[in-house]
Symmetry: C2
Subunit: 190 residues, 2 copies
């Protein structure tokens, strides 16, 4: 997605050769016009698939997920990082390892919102080691749902999450795949 790649080159900040900061348009300040274009790209890339639900994780996945859900006319469920005090019912949980924070945390989804037979599109802002995507897949499968696709805004292609998930048979559509950020320069795959 050219518009996204241009925006990453223009406004992305390389913190280390592993960490890219996109907080001016994606995960702290959000450019709604860009999110709308992102949702169009997801809709187009998965136009051969039928989904009845989108699954994401708070917080940065919510904006692209909701805009895509609006286009596809399907609900969006976001996994919570802290089980809220009002979540009294059963929940599916999975653990995510954050490499940037070097810690594990749990995400959960109320079992009310994942049903056997659901065909789920997972959406997230980043794919790096794949820990968040695998946790969302686990939650979907705990509920008997099938993951029909994974839509990623920015894939760090130099980390192994995408490779592992593709080898497991999941279809991933990444709108910008970064091959390298070394030498303070972003190079895209393609």
């Amino acid at each position: 997605m050219e518009l996204l790649k241009k925006r990453i080159l223009k406004d992305g900040e390389i913190i280390t050769d592993q960490i890219l900061k996109v907080d001016s348009f994606l995960n702290h300040q959000i450019d709604p016009y860009l999110i709308e274009e992102i949702s169009s790209a997801f809709t187009s890339r998965f136009s051969d698939q039928i989904f009845n639900k989108i699954l994401t994780v708070e917080s940065s996945g919510i904006a692209p997920a909701v805009m895509t859900g609006f286009k596809l006319s399907i609900p969006v469920v976001f996994a919570k990082k802290n089980k809220p005090s009002t979540m009294i019912e059963n929940a599916y949980t999975a653990s995510i390892h954050s490499y940037t924070k070097n810690s594990d945390y749990e995400i959960s989804v109320s079992s009310k919102f994942i049903k056997k037979g659901d065909r789920i599109l997972i959406i997230d802002d980043f794919l790096a080691n794949g820990s968040a995507a695998r946790a969302l897949i686990s939650i979907a499968e705990q509920g008997g749902a099938k993951v029909g696709g994974i839509g990623i805004v920015i894939e760090k292609g130099f980390q192994n999450g995408g490779k592992l998930l593709r080898e497991m048979g999941y279809r991933i559509e990444s709108l910008a795949r970064i091959e390298s950020m070394s030498g303070n320069k972003i190079q895209f795959k393609d």
Copy 2:
């Protein structure tokens, strides 16, 4: 907003006479069509105002904020509940008291994203005691911005946040104002 009130009556769950659970359409599972209607209502109610930025707080404020930002063609900034490891620059912070969890937590916004002269629309899913709204106002004002309006999806009119903020001179537009939830029955103000 009639569609919203009907949805609250249909799918909202009264947990106690103080706590309403709307996780099937607003803050865990999200109905994107409803969010789009919510954003239309905010746009219409604030049509006499000019804003250049929307400020909300993760996570449940993000969906209505981004959809409204798209309609108004302005960026959205969401305050973070945990200062991320990549937020190395200065940040404006404020404290929120959660009555449901009976604890305080801090929210922060990078000072890059609030500018002197900004005219801000605050959007959030709930207004109860007003602690989150006051924290967002504080962050906006720390950055020299002016809060031109506060758009709330559901106001618990039986708690005093809305009253206090209106007395302070802030314009609040609540799409559903609940007067009472006692006796396991939701009554709206109007």
